[in-house]
Point group: C2
Chain length 109, copies 2
């Protein structure tokens, strides 16, 4: 769902990827990493969608919390397997959110 984030500034880690063929344990690890990320200090929210292209955006309080999650041993192991097995290619972008605005329609249940 759309992540509910505090007022800017905060950070976004934009991960855009193309998967290799086959699951090979990906779904299980993906779920584990999603759950672990949400327990980290400074985690603000996550949005994730995949068709052929996958986009996962995680939101963080600051660069320090991103770095700390990056140094997490389980996360390192998962990223290593990602490069070896699960991804054909990916790009990671670290971005500082400077402004945001939201809309919710009237005619929504």
């Amino acid at each position: 769902m759309i992540a509910s984030t505090p007022a800017p500034p905060y950070y976004a880690v934009i991960f855009t990827s193309l998967r290799s063929v086959g699951d090979n344990g990906y779904d299980q690890m993906s779920e584990k990493m999603m759950n672990m990320a949400q327990e980290q200090d400074g985690f603000l929210g996550i949005e994730s969608v995949r068709q052929e292209l996958g986009i996962t955006i995680s939101y963080w309080r600051d660069l320090q919390s991103i770095q700390k999650w990056r140094d997490n041993a389980d996360h390192k192991f998962a990223r290593e397997k990602g490069r070896k097995i699960w991804y054909k290619s990916f790009t990671t972008r670290i971005a500082k959110v400077e402004r945001d605005y939201s809309f919710t329609g009237n005619n929504v249940e």
Copy 2:
């Protein structure tokens, strides 16, 4: 596909949305806006995926080029229809990409 962007810094407009029910001209307008965006000065690339949640990220050289595209009359008209008809809710985030890195596997055709 994964957007091929120049070295940072550059900007990302992260648009996360939930659609209302029915097409109502959305697909046609979406394609038109995608094509128009790519013709704008300062446009660097776009990545777009939708399951239930949709994420579209467009990349831009600077805030000026984002603002200019925002002021485009056709784009304004499309955004207005978006709020009235096509979207249940959305969040737009303007973010400065400070760092990025890419990976391409060896065993890819």
